[in-house]
Symmetry: C2
Subunit: 238 residues, 2 copies
Amino acid sequence: MTEKELNLKTAALEKISHLDYFNIAISVDCVIFGYENKELKVLLIKSDLEEFSGLYSLLGDLVRPDEDLESASYRVLADRTGMEDVYLEQVHTFGSIARHPSGRVITTAYYSLIDITHHKLQLNHNDLHWHSVNDIKKLAFDHKLILNTCLKRLRDQIMENPVAFNLLQDKFSLRELQEVYEAILDIKLDRRNFRKKIALKDWLQDLNEMETNLSHRPGKLYALKKQYKTSRVRSMAG
Amino acid sequence: MTEKELNLKTAALEKISHLDYFNIAISVDCVIFGYENKELKVLLIKSDLEEFSGLYSLLGDLVRPDEDLESASYRVLADRTGMEDVYLEQVHTFGSIARHPSGRVITTAYYSLIDITHHKLQLNHNDLHWHSVNDIKKLAFDHKLILNTCLKRLRDQIMENPVAFNLLQDKFSLRELQEVYEAILDIKLDRRNFRKKIALKDWLQDLNEMETNLSHRPGKLYALKKQYKTSRVRSMAG
DNA sequence: AAATTAATGTGTCGTAAGTACATATTATGT
DNA sequence: ACATAATATGTACTTACGACACATTAATTT
């Protein structure tokens, strides 16, 4: 190392080391919801930390200096699911001092809704699996809290905004839609009242098609009106 | 510099520099709302950055390695207003790459509601002033966006949760309360319907007292029921 | 081809909340 | 005593919500 290099590095070092504030890392964690078998699922991975061996955790990563928070979330999503245009919404930032055993890491949580049937991915590798939300008892880090917070947000959203549709394929029957709502809210709904409520929102387009391959009377098929289709959600400017 | 010192510093430098992720700083910004003269106000300070000379900014600070996000927000609040037990709620985290001219800073925004009359503070020092929300055109950084986001959250909240009361003194008349709502929502409300709606919530306790020192018929005084008094808001384990 | 099955599709009634709107009441000031 | 300027309150209409029952249809079985 030349003297010049040394001086440069030393200067940089001084600058960095007195900025204690940079000793906090920031990550994003994605609560990726899916829907299958009338159950709400979430995508989890086996934790790679010793402290949490045997436990699952959400999908996340450190935010890189050259990407904004949403880019980081979309990167995590694309890396893990291979899907690009998905619904994603920021929920909350968790910053307890001791939330990460390896150091100070503040994390911003996003929730995401994806159509699980479009997701025939590298699932069998690397311990990545869909878990029924109702069956999850314990997660690594504070990820159970993050999951609960995101689930609450999702529940608050679905009656106000047409987001639940992101869990379904493009065409669906009202029965399927109701089952999605029941899975998310974890309650039974009255069919007639549910249909009235949905009709009132005017979110749906009647496709004049019917379900097929059923062993009973098929229902009509609907699609979410184009104007409500959310791929990438409006950015709050990052 | 001895060889030993050099080696130490170099080692530390290597360690830090390969941890690019720590090159992001994290801050909190507080949108501190107050209410005065039938107007919703927000506490702003003159920006100390050259790039924003002449502009005002929200109150914020870098998060210290040994404090969590909420502690940092309360610290900012206490430092600037001298008030301890205030309503504070996390709203959103803003992480655009270029949002801070001096470097990469991700900020978590909180909004806070305080009783402005309990706040006879060091206002005249250091360019700290209350500004009418409606008059604010431009702020430093992305603080206008943060303000708008927090204002929207506040507006969404006040009909659902008894938070607007934090802007008023302990005892207030229904007229005063309505004026607070009108200031926040920036609309006129019908007096009879407003009272019906508030009565329905069952938030208020009739104090059997009257307003005084008015030049007209005084109204009854009410207080928020104890069970709803929010000093420090429930932590999301933040 | 007729009957059965298992689901879809729809309507009513009572209740609760939202909105528009007008009159009586009361403490104060003259 | 009277005028004033605000408080306090009620009704009618409309809209949403929740509980609830029956007719219809396509597929399947007999």
